[in-house]
Every structure is written in structure tokens, then in C-alpha cells.
Amino acid sequence: MSTVKLTVNGKAVAVDVEDRTLLVQLLRDHLNLTGTHVGCDTSQCGACVVHMDGRAVKSCTMLAGQADGASITTIEGIAKGDELHPMQAAFRDNHGLQCGYCTPGMIMSAIDIVQRHGGQLDEATVRTELEGNICRCTGYHNIVKAVLDAAGRMKVSQAAE
């Protein structure tokens, strides 16, 4: 057992976990943050994507201990109260989700994509960048639309800040 100290959605937490505990298990089983999902065993599907120190990571593919001292943001931590993150709003407005299972990972990856590419996003880039997130419902058409839409919204909201 080890104590892992980290910040999750802005809140400092210390959790005693078995050493083999994965970050996704810490989030789901110990902190009850069940918005982060597990869809495969091989780091392929991306349902588990969260942000660690501002970068997208697959939380099923790292030990909780590797996140010691880090700042983790999950799907539960990106809205400001009732105000949705522009990426969340864009997924809703563009019907970028159906069953919702891949959605948290998609949204967390998509925010990272927009942040890395700034305003230089086009459809082909979004499709290439989404390679690590699998969706079985939407055929990606509306997810791609949502990411491009959100890229515009995030630019506007950054300009406003």
C-alpha cells in the first residue's frame, strides 16, 4: 500500500492504494469519479482519457503512483458550475454523442487537441488526432463537427479572457 497525494479537479486528495492500482481505478473506485470510463484493456479506446498537468493521458495505462504530486482534471472538473466547457456544449449542440460511454474521453482528448493546435484545426487534423479514441455509435461525423465547432468557441472564450 502507498499513499498517493494529488490534486483532482482542483481539490487536494491523499489516497491509500495498493501499489498496482491504476489511475483510473483511483478515480473511479476510490474517489467515485465514475465519469472516466474503461472501454478496453490495451490503451486503444480512449474512454479513460483525463488531463494530467494539462495534458491528455490514458488513465488506464498509468499507475496511480505515477500521478503522485500531479494535477488531474476529469470530465467532472471542466464545467464552471452550471456553465459547460465549450467542448461539452459543442458535443451536445452537434449531437456528438449517442450512448455517452466514449464521450468523457472524447471530450478530454478533444480539449487537448484544440489546445495543442490552437486555431489551426481542420477536419483531416481532427480525424488524425482522434486516432486514440474509439466511438462505436456516432461514426465520428458529428464528433468531428463538434471539435471544430468547439475550437472556434474556445478561441472566442480565450480572446474574451
Binding site: C45, P104, E131, Y140
Partner: protein, 780 residues
């Protein structure tokens, strides 16, 4: 149409919880005292279980129990059932071997469970499973249908000699032979419809909770049809009588057919919960999904089509071998028979059809309904035949289809189905216009100059949805009726709850079903809630599959609404001292037509519940229910056209354009309908280009993870150009046909027709991987 009524592109009500991480899936649920199950699964495709030694595992920390297949048999838990009886051409019933929830004696596919460890945590259960020693005696195995039907092949079940489940026929053999005898041209084709893994993103999961004092079970499960699950668990598996078993399917992360079936893991969790006296949770991992979720497709077919001198089809002969895997799954028997062969007429006037389907056991994961279920196999076969015929007869493939389209309705095909309505020319026209079909030769020539092989492929699909008229399916062997139920509850303050037996696992029912209420009553959808997925709340229902929720489920809601409205009008007329016939419902008010007299819905509802001043003899309350049984299948149809380029150097395919023109009848929410088409198209494209569940000759799966099985990713597929042509379905009052499966049914033929057009060679099997395409291009 109101802003939230029928036809409006209303943003989904359910999305808020999904985009904020507040969805509630089975694995998100924790119960006090909950234990965790890990299954011990066979590594062999075929073996005798000689013994199970769990003594070491039982001494390990946190282990509660190790339970085996023999124990579940001793406790008289029933074997898994197949719910659709098929009769072979010799009149004999289909031949099935027993399928116990965990194998006591013989395992017949890799992944079949033989025992389960129950422990305090998932990790501890997994650790202990490593220490359970199972002694197997390997037996020879067989994985594909050709090998399975050979004399001397390893036999799976003594009940099914030759590994044959049934040999079933449909149509008029004599008339078909006569058509071929007179044919001007005959086109022949062999096709394999590749086996697919459904891969809903949420792995299956179950939590069983036994209450010893009440002798009552609660099951949380990833199900498309919780009421059917309860019925089967009660009536056939001896788990508990229905009133002692509550089944809850909360948010479910996709199904595509794979979550229709009641699986061994749910049965074992329920049984084990009673045995250990604590809640038992099982969550599958992705490899377990590949090994145990029912697979789809897996047909091997030879077909011949006869034409007269005017290129009119005169006859069709089909022989299909369907691989069922090691056991007959719940609806498996119906898929290659009544869901496949009944659609072999496609969109065409075919006077004579004869089809024979041989169902075969192999040492592989059981096969059952997967998005489209039989209809993709039929559509792929017919549309590959039409394309092959056009090439052989040297006519334009679109024109050959037009020459043979059914243009008058109703149309009785030679294979049971009576198409009610459609306009196949309209959807073909729309798709050809959208893709600029006429301009294709110039584009092909330009691509050739750039070193690329460009092709165009047409696919005109039809499907039978809205499953289904109970009497009709009963006469064909179905063990259940396929109606739907609904209840409308108007609360005393005028808010509305709609209880439905349909189940949403991505389809957006919480929005579209509210839109019907908004349309009829003029109330905002925020005043309406949809309740589904809990057998304690909704009395009964048949669930969601076969594109049936709008055509059947929503019609049941409409019927209940009509009853509720009739009563509410009586109350309003009484309160307004007007004639009931003069009451109209607008903007949430009951108005006396032609006057300014009105009473708002909440006041009518309150009057119904206070019952201070109701018409004489009227019961208090405002709640009505309805059961709706459709009169026919519905027949969504359309045309998909795919234009693509093949790089002759690598065999890689790149999409140029993909257009879809669908006729789904009336659309409730076009945004959601388009989303269903997008998703279906990508499953069809996935089958055509990427996906294949592969076994080696000994029955070992070689594609049991996302590293080996190619799921479509965002950069594998194009954006789509969709349009709709509309003929209203005459079979239901809303005119709905259903849209859930069309994409998966029609897309794969369009892709393969386009690739074979591009490379100038007709024989190409799915998935058309770059390797396979390159070899086909460069084959002698």
C-alpha cells in the same frame, strides 16, 4: 411542427449527464457489501473438463467462494435457451445441444466459463483465479463451416449429427428452376460475409443482489431489453419468479444487438449472490467481450441470378451456410432464416426465389443478431449480385437496378414479405444527383492521370424493421410476441411521465419520445420525463432492437396518449361546461373551439386527482396505458453510393465521397436520425474495410483485443452527405419506418462495389484490407 414537436432538431435531453460525467452505467454502481466475480474461462476451443482444484485459491486473501459448472447444474439453474424454433426442410425440428451457464463437462469455445471466483475486490478475484487449476483433456476442434460439415469432422453436440442445426428452405424451388432453365443470362457469385465482433464501447456488466428475507433478487445489467431478461431468467433459468426479480438496465453504453441476449454471466451473478449471501458484481473486460459477446454475420453463400433478354431478373437461387458458433444463442436461429432469406428480393421484382440455409455448429463464440441481423447479409448478397450482373451484362449498374425496381405497392415478394410502400427510383435519383453520378467518368479519367484507381459503387438496400407483428412471428416459430407497451402518467401538477418498454442505449428516446408529447399537447419537453429500463417501474416491454422503438414503441405511447387525451377532454368539457366534441388541445391548454374559453393542462390534471368535480361516474386520476402490436413490418429503403480511390501501389482505399438517400417515413428528430445513419454507415464500412473476427483452424481466436481487431477510427472514414426521400409507412399512425440499422445494412456493398469497380476485378472479399486489395490487383 412546434419548436420541440415532431420534425424538430431538438438537442438531446439526456446529453447533460453524459457530457458532465454523470451518466450511470452498471459498473458505476456500488452496493454495500458487494463482492466481485472473475470468471475462469477455457483456453481451449474444445475440451473435456476433467477436474477443477480450487483448494489453493480458497486459501488466498479476500476469496469468498469458488463456484463451478457442476454446482450450477446441481442447483438446477436452467440451460440457456434459443427462443425461435426453426424447422428443417425434412420437417424435423432444429437440433440443439445443451448450453449450461458454466460448463460442467465439456467446453466448446475459447472463453466459455467453467468456474467463477467471488472475492472482496476485482483484483483479488483475478489473483485467485490464477490459482484455480482446471484439468482439461483437449479434443479436436473445428472453426469454420466448410470444415465442420465435412465427414469425419470433430463433432460438437451428440444431438446435432454432422454439426448441422438445421437445413431450412424458403421459396418455390420448381418455379425457380424453371426460370433458370429459360434464362438468357445467369450470373453466379460466391461471397463470404465476414464474422464481426459487435464491440459496444461499454463492456457487459452485471450486479446481482439477493435479499434473503424477501427471497428477492435485483439485477443491474447492461441490457437492451430488461423485461425480456426477467422473463427468460424467471421462466427458463429458474432464478426466481418474476415478482421476486427486478431487472434494471440503467444507462447502457451501446448495444447493437449484443445486449439483447441473456448471458451466462448474469445468470451466474444472480445464482452466486444467493449462494454467498452478498451482492455480486461482474464487469467484463474487452477481451471477455471479444470472447463471449455474441458475434455477428459469418455466412458463406453461393448465389445465382437469372435474367431474361431484357435484363429483367427472372429467378434467384441462394445457398447459405451460417456459422452459429458453439451454442445456439437466444435469437440466433432466426437471423439467417426469417431475418435474412425473407429480404432476398431486395428492391427488385423477382418472380421466383429459392433459398436454402444450413446452420452449422463450430468451436467458436456463439453468433446472433448484430446491427441489421440477417438483413446486411441479404442486402450485401443482392447488391453484389446486381453489380456483378451489370458488369457481366455490360449495362450501367444504376440502370440495371432501375430496370428491375418494384414500382407498385403493396408488393408481395416470393419470400413472405409484403412491402407496403416505397419509392426506390426517388432515393436512387437523390443519391445519383448528390454524388454527380453523370460526372464520374471524367473524375475517373482524371484520377487515372494521377496514378489512382477511382471507383463508384451503388447499393440499393431494403430492410424489414419495426419488429414485428406478434401473430406473424409466432406462426414462424418465435417464442415471444413483439408488441410494445406504454403508460402515460399525468401528475396532479400537470407534469408528464411516459413509461415505455423500449430501452435507450444511445438512441435518444428521452428526447424523441418527449417530442411526440410536445407535438400533441403543446407542452415543453422539459415538463415530460421518459421512464424506461426498470421492471419495477414499467410493467412490461420487449425492448429495443430491429429499429423498432419509434415504429412500435412510440406508437404504443401514441395509443396511450390518445386514451389519456380522451379522458382529459371529458374533464375539460365538464369544467368548461362545453361539449366534449368541441375541445381542442393547443399550447398546453384545452380550449373550446371558436371561443376564448380554455383550461390549462395542470388544472385538468389537478381536477382529475382532486376528483371534486368530475363528470358523473368517472374514475379519478389521469393515467392510461396501451399495448401496440404492429400489423406488418416496416420497410425502410434507400440508396447509398460510394466514390473512392485505390492506390495501386499499396492497395489502400481513400474515400472521395459517400452519399446516402434514405426513406425512413416520418422523422421525429432529423438530427438523431442522421446520427443513427452515420453510426450505421461506419459499422458497414468497418465490415467492408477493416473488421474481421478471425479464428485459426483449431478454434483459437486471433482477434481478441482492439490491437488485433480493426475498429473503425475517425481517420478511417469520411464525413457523409445525407438526404431523405419520404413515403410514409401506412402500417402505423405516425408513418414511421425506423432508422437504426439502415447504414449497417446498405454500406458494405457500396464500398465493395466501388473498390471492385476501381480495380476492375470483381472477386474481392471483406474486409478489403490494403493487403487483400493489393493482392487482388496484382493476381495473375
Amino acid at each position: 411542427m412546434g419548436v420541440e414537436g415532431i420534425g424538430a432538431r431538438v438537442v438531446r435531453k439526456e446529453d447533460k449527464r453524459f457530457i458532465t460525467g454523470k451518466g450511470r452505467y452498471v459498473d458505476d454502481i456500488k452496493l454495500t457489501g458487494m463482492t466481485h466475480a472473475h470468471f475462469i474461462r477455457s483456453p481451449h476451443a474444445h475440451a473435456k473438463v476433467k477436474g477443477i482444484d480450487s483448494s489453493a485459491a480458497l486459501k488466498m486473501p479476500g476469496v469468498v467462494a469458488v463456484l463451478t459448472g457442476q454446482q450450477i447444474v446441481d442447483d438446477k439453474v436452467g440451460n440457456l435457451i434459443c427462443g425461435w424454433a426453426i424447422t428443417s426442410k425434412d420437417g424435423s425440428p432444429m437440433k440443439m445441444g445443451a448450453w449450461p451457464a458454466m460448463a460442467p463437462e465439456t467446453v466448446r469455445f475459447v472463453g466459455q466459463a467453467v468456474a467463477v471466483v467471488i472475492a472482496e475486490s476485482k483484483n483479488l478475484a483475478r489473483d485467485a483465479a490464477e490459482a484455480v487449476v482446471v484439468n482439461y483433456e483437449e479434443l479436436p476442434a473445428v472453426a469454420d463451416v466448410h470444415a465442420a460439415i465435412k465427414p469425419g469432422a470433430p463433432q460438437l453436440h451428440p444431438e446435432a449429427p454432422g454439426n448441422q442445426v438445421y437445413d431450412w428452405v424458403i421459396g418455390d424451388e420448381g418455379a425457380t428452376d424453371a426460370a433458370f432453365a429459360k434464362a438468357a443470362n445467369v450470373v453466379k457469385l460466391d461471397v463470404t460475409n465476414n464474422r464481426l465482433a459487435p464491440n459496444a464501447m461499454e463492456p457487459r456488466a452485471a450486479i446481482a443482489d439477493y435479499d434473503a428475507a424477501e427471497e428477492h433478487f435485483t439485477l443491474y445489467t447492461t441490457s437492451q431489453n430488461p423485461h425480456v431478461a426477467r422473463l427468460v431468467l424467471s421462466a427458463f433459468y429458474n432464478i426466481a419468479p418474476e415478482h421476486k426479480l427486478r431487472v434494471i438496465a440503467p444507462d447502457v453504453g451501446g448495444g447493437f444487438g449484443s445486449k439483447i441476449f441473456i448471458y451466462p454471466e448474469e445468470m451466474v451473478a444472480l445464482w452466486a449472490s444467493k449462494k454467498v449471501g452478498r451482492p455480486v458484481k461482474w464487469t467484463g473486460d474487452r477481451t471477455e467481450a471479444f470472447l463471449t459477446d455474441a458475434h455477428g454475420r459469418d455466412h458463406v453463400t453461393h448465389a445465382e441470378m437469372a435474367f431474361d433478354a431484357n435484363n429483367k431478373i427472372t429467378g434467384l437461387k441462394v445457398k447459405t451456410y451460417a456459422n452459429f458458433g458453439a451454442y445456439m444463442s437466444l435469437f440466433s436461429s432466426s437471423v439467417p432464416t426469417y431475418l435474412y432469406a425473407t429480404l432476398l428480393s431486395g428492391q427488385y421484382n423477382i418472380p421466383a426465389i429459392h433459398a436454402e440455409v444450413v446452420g452449422v455448429y463450430t468451436n467458436t463464440t456463439p453468433v446472433d443478431a448484430y446491427r441489421g441481423a440477417g438483413r446486411p447479409e441479404a442486402s450485401y448478397l443482392i447488391e453484389r449480385l446486381m453489380e456483378t450482373a451489370a458488369r457481366q451484362l455490360k449495362v450501367d449498374p444504376a440502370q440495371l437496378r432501375r430496370t428491375n425496381f418494384i414500382t407498385t405497392f403493396p408488393h408481395q415478394t416470393p419470400v413472405i414479405m409484403a412491402y407496403d410502400t416505397g419509392d426506390f427510383n426517388a432515393s436512387l435519383d437523390a443519391a445519383m444527383k448528390a454524388i454527380d453520378y453523370a460526372g464520374f467518368p471524367a473524375r475517373k479519367a482524371k484520377a487515372k492521370a494521377d496514378g489512382k484507381l477511382r471507383g463508384i459503387g451503388v447499393s440499393c438496400y431494403i430492410e424489414a424493421c419495426g419488429i414485428a407483428p406478434s401473430k406473424a412471428v409466432g406462426s414462424l416459430g418465435a417464442g415471444v410476441g413483439l408488441w410494445e407497451s406504454a403508460e402515460v402518467r399525468v401528475n396532479p401538477v400537470g407534469t408528464i411521465e411516459i413509461l415505455t418498454g423500449s430501452h435507450s442505449h444511445g438512441q435518444g428516446h428521452e428526447t424523441t419520445f418527449c417530442q411526440l408529447v410536445a407535438e400533441r399537447l403543446g407542452v415543453p419537453i422539459s415538463q415530460v420525463s421518459i421512464v424506461h429500463g426498470d421492471t419495477d417501474k414499467v410493467q412490461f416491454g420487449m425492448g429495443t432492437y430491429g429499429s423498432r422503438s419509434a415504429a412500435v414503441g412510440l406508437t404504443a405511447i401514441l395509443k396511450a396518449m390518445e386514451k389519456m387525451e380522451a379522458k382529459a377532454k371529458k374533464i375539460a368539457a365538464h369544467a368548461l361546461e362545453a361539449s366534449e366534441a368541441d375541445i381542442v388541445i393547443e399550447n398546453g391548454e384545452f380550449k373550446v373551439t371558436g371561443t376564448d374559453k380554455a383550461i390549462a393542462l395542470p388544472m385538468v390534471a389537478l381536477a382529475a386527482y382532486t376528483a371534486h368535480n368530475l363528470p358523473d361516474g368517472m374514475e379519478p386520476g389521469l393515467k392510461e396505458s396501451a399495448f401496440y402490436d404492429p400489423t406488418n413490418f416496416t420497410f425502410p429503403a434507400g440508396t447509398y453510393i460510394c466514390e473512392l480511390e485505390v492506390d495501386p501501389g499499396t492497395g489502400k482505399t481513400s474515400f472521395v465521397n459517400f452519399v446516402a438517400a434514405d426513406d425512413f417515413g416520418r422523422l421525429i428528430n432529423p438530427m438523431i436520425v442522421e446520427g443513427q445513419v452515420h453510426g450505421g454507415l461506419v459499422q458497414g464500412i468497418g465490415q467492408a474495410l477493416l473488421e474481421h473476427a478471425i479464428y485459426d483452424a483449431n478454434g483459437q481466436p486471433v482477434t481478441a483485443s482492439f490491437m488485433d481487431y480493426a475498429m473503425p477510427r475517425a481517420d478511417d472514414v469520411p464525413s457523409f452527405n445525407l438526404s431523405h426521400t419520404t413515403t410514409l409507412c401506412p402500417g402505423n399512425p405516425l408513418g414511421i419506418k425506423g432508422c437504426g440499422e439502415a447504414g449497417a445494412i446498405g454500406a458494405s456493398a457500396a464500398v465493395i462495389n466501388a473498390i471492385t469497380d476501381a480495380i476492375g476485378k470483381n472477386n474481392l472479399e471483406m474486409p478489403a484490407t490494403p493487403d487483400r486489395v493489393w493482392r487482388t490487383i496484382h493476381a495473375g
